[in-house]
């Protein structure tokens, strides 16, 4: 049962498939996951005349305020079928969709974007780093780790410090362990509980940056301005795009290689380390991304709208900056809304989630006419302890 009774399937044309696209304009978007990314996709898409439903097991999924919920686990065939037979097209708000669900959707030959291969690559750090290497994109030295002896051997080749990460299911710094001395191997291996892993060389970087890229099912591509990110405790805290970053062309060339190689459709985020020599690719996210939230007010077209345009094969919107913008994440709890709204040019995004330590519960964007004006806003209103 969905939140308000089962979703009605499309009566006339039956499920839309990749093999037999219908000529009627697609307007029903099914989303796997009902968190803030699904919520912001729906908020962006209603204006385009789209309708939204999502599958999520949580009784308090925050996308439910603006989209219909099919409540159930992600690997429940009946729930997937309910969503898929209602929707014209399926997309994801997170990459850790169970393989079972992806297979089910693929077998039904539903239109599913981004493509399953991109999900598979992003889900597995080893595949991802291997892809970077194959495409000639600089990435930290890495080695596959299946045992403590693998780890001890890799530490000798790669050197220290290095980072041990589980191949799958890691995000926001979870499932990671930094090794500084050879003696750290056993503890690090224990920390990840013997799961398949990857050891990566530690990259001394000057900045963490990301680029939000988008590719339509028509092949059209667009790239947002490179964004500088500040993380703390593995969680993004602050993002600021730069209109003419010297690394823009380099970042775009890497993102374009990935989009093209994967025959990608939708928004893809590529996170990179900026080093004195070059950009070094860290990871991709095959979805709208936290470091692109500033695009809602800061760009002509938001990443959410462009993701929807892309999966629907519609023309992509302008990705350039409108003046200057920066985003501040609200982690654990929200600030007082009247304090944020008192900041000139501030846009507040309360995700409607309960406060909980480490949880992303909202963000606010500062927009200004110029970099100088934005600098002043940041100086006055953004806590230095972000």
């Amino acid at each position: 049962m969905s939140e308000y009774g089962a979703l009605p399937p499309k009566p006339a044309q039956g499920p839309r498939t990749a093999a037999q696209p219908s000529s009627a304009p697609m307007k029903r978007i099914g989303i796997l996951g009902g968190g803030q990314l699904a919520r912001m996709l729906a908020l962006a898409g209603h204006s385009l005349g789209l309708e939204f439903a999502f599958l999520d097991p949580a009784p308090d999924a925050c996308a439910a305020a603006v989209a219909r919920q099919v409540r159930g686990p992600y690997d429940d065939a009946a729930k997937l079928e309910e969503l898929a037979s209602w929707a014209d097209i399926i997309t994801y708000e997170f990459e850790n969709v169970p393989a079972q669900a992806v297979r089910f959707l693929e077998e039904g030959r539903r239109l599913v974007y981004p493509p399953a291969e991109a999900l598979a690559v992003s889900r597995d750090r080893l595949s991802e780093k291997t892809l970077f290497t194959e495409l000639g994109i600089p990435t930290p030295a890495f080695a596959a780790i299946e045992s403590l002896s693998d780890l001890e051997a890799a530490v000798k080749t790669i050197g220290l410090p290095a980072v041990l990460k589980t191949r799958t299911l890691g995000y926001d710094g979870k499932g990671q362990s930094v090794l500084r001395r050879t003696e750290d191997c056993a503890a690090a291996w224990a920390h990840i509980q013997g799961r398949s892993a990857i050891l990566e060389a530690f990259v001394p970087f000057t900045r963490e940056v990301s680029i939000i890229a988008v590719r339509s099912s028509t092949g059209e591509e667009a790239f947002y301005p490179l964004t500088e990110n500040i993380h703390r405790e593995g969680i993004l805290r602050f993002s600021r795009p730069h209109a003419a970053d010297p690394r823009q062309a380099e970042a775009e060339s890497y993102a374009r290689k990935i989009l093209d190689q994967l025959d990608y459709v939708g928004v893809l985020a590529l996170e990179l380390f900026d080093t004195p020599e070059a950009l070094v690719a860290n990871e991709t996210a095959p979805r709208v991304h936290n470091s692109g939230h500033w695009t809602i007010e800061g760009a002509y077209t938001s990443q959410f709208e462009n993701h929807l345009r892309a999966i629907l094969g519609l023309p992509l919107g302008r990705t350039d900056l409108r003046g200057s913008a920066a985003m501040v994440n609200c982690i654990g709890s929200l600030p007082k809304r009247e304090e944020i709204l008192a900041i000139p040019g501030a846009h507040y995004h309360d995700y409607g989630k309960e406060a909980r330590p480490g949880r992303k519960v909202g963000h606010y964007t500062l927009s200004a006419a110029s970099d100088d004006e934005l600098d002043e806003l940041i100086r006055r209103f953004v806590p230095s302890s972000i």
Copy 2:
């Protein structure tokens, strides 16, 4: 019964009243009316962490995609009670709320904004023009008409051409009749079917303009840039704000007088004729207004968000232009979405309504970095037959 079962009333604190405001932040917004204005209010307000429900008798009210519907007539006490006991605060998307509903809400001492007096003034063209005159705001010569002999006498005083309008329930050019010759009196009187009316002198104007003003329950006020409007067949077709219109200060001074006089709370639109001598006030709308739709992408803060901030007593957002913008209404039917989305900097707003002649079914906004860039977009993409 509401769309998804009755709304749950607030359990703990009971209905919030003007006399006994609660200290918990208000977040449940009840709206009378569920058309595109309610829809865009909800789309703007979810980001502020607000929740929305609306009362509307229509089975296909387009706000239902983003807010809960209480389905019923506007004068149904039980439905009004259901909405009011759920909501922290009540607002309107249209001014022609039945007097009965207003009385009911007033008697319950619910927080209702804009205030009932502003609604009453806007609903009645005679009260409205009388208010303009009392406040020293230029307005066309006018006379109250209750009979054909009133009309014949007024035509002698006011002169011709003149416009006969019903005092209430007129919008988008409905309930109006232009008199060019004395012999037109009988036909005009017959056209409005003997309803209470007002005869207004015809004003030869150079432009139709409007100003969107907003006043918070704290008394804070803000004004958007003056907007130039083009109507056809009494329906708004095209709006374009100007960053430094020579009439800005004049329009603001008139709007401020009205806001202050009515102890107004929320967004108010004031429509004016620009004449070589002065601005001449035509009418007010005590709500978010079609000529302010460009503010969604064209201003730092949209009229919808500022209306919500105002009724909640939150700090108002910046009202200045971000670059340049213009809005095109879609009347009767929608253009192909891919054609609109192919325009650089275009933002498409499909209201999710069925096509019907004369119906407002959507709009699109063109945004650009400069007036020159916008001029070029309008030249290339906006049909001259708007």
